[in-house]
């Protein structure tokens, strides 16, 4: 993305995502950080919703994984970053996966593409047979 690499604060937390309860936990942790970083209510809700989508994809399609989250700084700005990582099957066709309404399961097919719209920075690394990593960041205004 643009600008220098965001610098993570030292105290990033990692939680495993292996059940629906973990998805709820991930969401709550991101909300706490979003509040600490003073994101507006709208931005908090957007980030938490994106985290919810990505955590569930990690669980459902990635077969479980981890979320790493914490505050980041770039220039004089503060933001919240959340990185979701799994060693699942990977995404064979990224364009397709990012198409609104496309799902390989029984979803609405809006989670991934929607999450991208909900955040400021979005990066996705995936390799078939190796896994998927999605990183999102929302910056305080």
């Amino acid at each position: 993305m643009s600008g220098p690499r965001p610098v993570p604060d030292a105290d990033h937390e990692t939680i495993t995502i292996e059940s629906n309860d973990d998805v709820v936990r991930a969401r709550q942790l991101v909300r706490t950080l979003a509040q600490r970083c003073k994101l507006s209510l709208v931005d908090q809700t957007k980030l938490v919703t994106a985290a919810s989508e990505l955590a569930r994809n990690t669980l459902v399609y990635g077969g479980g994984g981890v979320m790493r989250t914490g505050l980041v700084r770039r220039d004089s700005r503060v933001g919240v970053t959340a990185v979701f990582e799994d060693s699942g099957p990977g995404i064979p066709d990224l364009d397709l996966a990012l198409t609104d309404g496309w799902t390989s399961g029984g979803g609405l097919g809006l989670g991934l593409s929607g999450a991208r719209r909900l955040v400021d920075d979005f990066t996705l690394d995936t390799e078939v047979g190796r896994g998927t990593q999605v990183a999102v960041t929302k910056w305080a205004r």
Partner: protein, 291 residues
């Protein structure tokens, strides 16, 4: 099937397990009694001695069989019976509300029965130490099953609680409403929706209001449940209104790309009620006339 994995079970280990089998078989009655006494001392009357006796006898036999055919490889096939018995024991204790200590004691107390004295030979001390390690491993296994069972119990209870804490209320003749509050996970949303549909039937209502004022975030999963409920309600001849969509939720829903189609949404529960009543063409007097 010897349970011997090359390079893992040494000759020495095998001699030790043979010696243990010997000791445990020769002194079966006295050692079994000592085990029983150790355990019942801790559980003092919380479980009948007869039942404990039965449990421990089975465990004792299975343990000797395991040692005989599988050495110390407690994760192997030779110990399937031991693990099954321990699994059952832990599950029962967990359900009956015993503490982790009270559960693990059944296994750990088995260590003490061969506790060395000044007369014990060096080999037998070694045998005792090796048995201790085995019992520790089995004790941990027991605790793991125990913890898992407790978790299951807790999640079953929270499910029941969820059921209870989902108030679907009849707001008016022909109108039911459900306020959704807090974090909605899939399980909870499912329960709420089922209850809503059931209440529509039970009360003979044909208007439903789902109020999401108390919901902090609506993601695709929650949205999908909402959409499914609306469709299901329609199939039953009822109409749903979604109320309490706060600004931040509305913006998020739009950014996500979720479309509620022709589903009626209202800012507040009161607006939704007015709308529902109008649909049912109830004369609202002044309130209705104004809108």
């Amino acid at each position: 099937m010897t349970g011997m994995r090359e390079g893992v079970t040494s000759v020495a280990e095998q001699e030790i397990s043979t010696r243990l089998v010997e000791l445990l078989t020769q002194q079966r009655e006295s050692l079994g009694a000592a085990w029983l006494e150790n355990v019942s001392a801790t559980l003092r009357g919380r479980i009948s001695v007869a039942e404990l006796d039965r449990e421990l006898r089975e465990l004792y036999s299975a343990l000797v069989d395991g040692l005989r055919t599988g050495g110390f490889d407690w994760q192997g096939d030779s110990y399937a019976e031991v693990r099954a018995l321990l699994g059952e024991l832990s599950r029962n204790r967990a359900r009956q509300g015993f503490s982790p200590t009270e559960t693990a004691v059944s296994v750990l107390a088995g260590k003490e029965i061969l506790e060395p004295t000044t007369e014990t030979s060096a080999e037998d001390i070694q045998a005792y130490l090796r048995l201790s390690r085995l019992m520790d491993a089995l004790g941990l296994y027991t605790l793991e099953v125990y913890a898992k069972t407790r978790e299951e119990i807790i999640s079953a209870q929270s499910e029941q609680l969820m059921e209870l804490s989902t108030p679907v209320v009849k707001l008016w003749e022909g109108v039911v409403a459900v306020p959704l509050v807090g974090t909605l996970d899939s399980a909870r949303t499912q329960v709420v929706m089922e209850k809503l549909l059931q209440t529509l039937v039970d009360t003979g209502s044909d208007q439903a209001i789902i109020d999401i004022t108390g919901v902090p975030a609506v993601d695709t999963e929650v949205a999908q449940h909402l959409l499914k409920t609306v469709v299901a309600a329609r199939l039953m001849g009822a109409e749903c209104t979604i109320s309490g969509i706060r600004p931040q939720i509305a913006q998020t829903i739009v950014a996500l790309g979720i479309q509620f189609g022709d589903i009626v949404t209202k800012a507040t529960l009161a607006d939704a009620l007015k709308h529902a009543l109008r649909r049912n063409s109830v004369d609202l007097g002044r309130a209705g006339g104004a809108a």
